[in-house]
């Protein structure tokens, strides 16, 4: 190949690829509307708060950003919005010792942020983040309490034997720490009635029987 041929291949090849990229870009822009909910003013304001506090400097969103803190794309799917609001406004009060600092976010800003995060959770991301394929399935027989623990997704915030979230305390030995079944029943129904300022959501819809089953399950963790 002569130098000139190589040079032309470089120049015209690059231009051709760029044209293809622009065509794909135009096509992509046309599809975005159908792949995500409408962007309300609140969502937009939330995005601005996201930028203002440089959340991307610690977190990822759609998997891009910094790897110091959990991904935010679908965070609203597993955690109640009230909980998230409390956490964002004052992480250290909700979870003592957490690595997320108190940034001085106002209640209004937190509401907007949450609207923004609800929006991102509904974007069609081609199935990302994937469901963990090696997670242990509940194939063995469950007790009633265990089933309730699973159904209410307590594991979103609590860990037992290393599995589950870390927003609330580890429950692996909660039976030794809090052996009183009545305390648990009251706590589950309305956490703030026994723990002032608790950030745990109330499980008001549980019947007395269900509360007893769940609390009974908990106190067995010695």
């Amino acid at each position: 190949m002569s130098n000139n041929a190589a040079k032309n291949l470089f120049i015209y090849g690059s231009l051709l690829c760029f044209v293809v990229l622009i065509i794909l870009t135009v096509d992509t822009m046309g599809t975005l509307k159908d792949r995500a909910p409408e962007i309300t003013e609140k969502v937009d304001l939330g995005k601005q708060v996201w930028h203002k506090y440089d959340c991307i400097g610690c977190h990822t969103i759609f998997g891009n950003g910094s790897y110091f803190a959990p991904d935010m794309t679908k965070v609203t799917e597993r955690k109640p919005l009230d909980y998230l609001k409390k956490f964002i406004m004052n992480p250290r009060a909700v979870k003592p010792g957490t690595a997320m600092p108190v940034l001085g976010i106002s209640a209004e800003e937190a509401d907007n942020l949450i609207a923004f995060l609800v929006w991102t959770s509904k974007v069609d991301t081609n199935g990302w983040p994937p469901k963990p394929i090696l997670a242990l399935g509940g194939n063995k027989k469950e007790s009633a309490g265990e089933a309730l623990f699973r159904k209410n997704d307590c594991a979103a915030c609590h860990q037992i034997n290393g599995m589950g979230g870390t927003a609330g305390p580890d429950l692996t030995h909660v039976g030794s720490k809090r052996p009183d079944i009545n305390w648990h029943m009251r706590h589950l129904k309305n956490p703030q009635s026994v723990v002032p300022d608790s950030a745990m959501p109330p499980f008001e819809d549980l019947t007395e029987d269900e509360l007893a089953d769940l609390a009974g399950y908990l106190i067995e963790f010695k």
């Binding site: 130098n3 690059s14 110091f68 001085g104």
Partner: protein
């Protein structure tokens, strides 16, 4: 050095090595914050911003310095305007200083990052392009002044050599690709779409053009190889960089809310991206082997070849392993990405600028021989430490992918318990890297000023 005006390169090199030192020091602070998040007066996000912005700025300063050296030599004339180059240098230093102060102010008091005319005053809150809009404008002006000065120099003698064509073409492409990062969009999907134009089309497009041009320049200068042969391979390399890299952009559009066809486009084109990088390695070895004449600047050659090798390993190999959607689905946004980011930037661009400094500085300082011992020492401290940092963080990434993504463990659990030792080792190897940088800085200031 043939032309007095080439001396201006030195200003840029000095700023570059000093910012490199800052970058690595704050990198170590960031690493320690994985264990003690509150030990420093700035939060992690600010420290990280300083780390990656210092990196990008010093690499750009290094490339500008290199270009101010190359263009007069290729055009065989003095630079069009030395005062303009000086002005551009000091204006850049001033703007960068302001931006850094802004980050620190915002780190201490986030409320200071208020909105003025619809944009954030101190920090845009977007990774790598955190610099606020007013600084973006200053950066673009600075780059345009720089390009203008170079083009006017070329026009003085109209020697359109291949090396300066690709070099200035790459720099123009670089300036253009900064623009997609300069407007606000309401949709986070669109935000990331355009953001990746800047980030990806820089490091896997325009910067690789600059690297290929400087590689050809250095091989010619060190070995006296025939320019025609070097130019031909350079064109083939950059042609392949663009052919694979432009549509390879798709490897960032798998999961951000863009259509599924990007899985095919990104997967196919980006997995070809290592080919031109491998070609550059071969190019470096071939030219070196074919040279009979003794090489006096052996360290310069050593760094040039190392740049080619680690460009391929860090960008090519560490990139390609997670570029297919089937793999990326699990590794996306984990420490695997961090490992790749470090080795790629180190191999492709840190070593490129360091090599350019060692290839051109002796003649800028007017010496033929110089003491190369410290240069080798610094290279090995940095390179071995970087290899260990990357091995460590690749390990952390594999543990994270396995436990969090495949097994369903909580993010914070994996970070705080399972990966703790990896963070500790990264900090230790980071200190080793700092030793290498310190030696580099000392050597930079002493080079040519003591007996060879």
């Amino acid at each position: 050095m043939q032309y007095k005006s080439q001396k201006i390169a030195q200003n840029f090199y000095t700023a570059a090595v000093l910012l490199f030192l800052v970058q690595v020091i704050v990198g170590i602070v960031a690493a320690l914050q994985f264990m003690w998040p509150d030990f420093f007066f700035l939060n992690f996000n600010t420290v990280r911003t300083l780390h990656i912005n210092a990196l990008v700025v010093w690499l750009l300063m290094g490339m500008m310095g290199a270009t101010y050296y190359v263009v007069p030599e290729e055009s065989e004339t003095e630079l069009w305007s030395v005062p303009l180059a000086n002005l551009q240098f000091w204006a850049t230093v001033f703007a960068v200083g302001l931006v850094i102060i802004g980050y620190i102010v915002m780190g201490i008091n986030p409320q200071a990052n208020m909105q003025v005319f619809g944009t954030n005053l101190l920090n845009e809150g977007r990774e790598y392009i955190e610099a606020p809009r007013w600084a973006d404008v200053l950066i673009v002006i600075s780059v345009l002044l720089f390009l203008f000065n170079c083009v006017m120099t070329v026009l003085k003698t109209k020697k359109f050599t291949a090396v300066q064509g690709v070099l200035l073409g790459g720099l123009t492409f670089l300036a253009l690709m900064y623009l997609p990062g300069m407007f606000y969009t309401k949709s986070m999907v669109m935000d990331q779409y355009w953001w990746w134009w800047v980030v990806h089309l820089w490091v896997e497009g325009s910067w690789e053009l600059i690297a290929a041009a400087l590689l050809a320049f250095m091989l010619h200068k060190l070995l006296g190889t025939d320019v025609k042969v070097l130019a031909k391979w350079m064109y083939i390399e950059v042609g392949l960089v663009m052919f694979t890299g432009i549509l390879g952009l798709g490897h960032h559009y798998y999961w951000i809310g863009t259509p599924k066809y990007w899985l095919w486009v990104g997967g196919i084109f980006s997995s070809l991206e290592p080919i031109p990088l491998l070609l550059m390695v071969w190019d470096a070895f071939r030219t070196t082997r074919e040279t009979r004449a003794p090489v006096s600047n052996r360290l310069g050659l050593y760094l040039t070849v190392s740049h080619a090798i680690f460009n391929f390993v860090g960008a090519g190999l560490w990139g390609v392993v997670h570029t297919l959607p089937q793999v990326n689905k699990w590794t996306h946004g984990t420490q695997v990405t961090t490992a790749h980011g470090h080795l790629a930037f180190y191999g492709a661009y840190v070593l490129l600028v360091v090599a350019m400094i060692y290839v051109t500085l002796p003649s800028i300082r007017g010496v033929k021989e110089y003491n190369q011992t410290r240069g080798y020492l610094s290279f090995w401290w940095m390179t071995i430490s970087m290899i260990f940092i990357v091995i460590t963080i690749t390990g952390a990434g594999m543990v994270q992918t396995y436990l969090e993504r495949l097994f369903g463990l909580d993010y914070v659990t994996v970070k705080a318990n399972y990966n703790l030792w990896f963070w500790i080792f990264r900090a230790i190897f980071g200190a080793g890297f700092l030793v290498g940088v310190l030696i580099l800085v000392v050597d930079y200031f002493k080079l040519g000023k003591e007996k060879a």
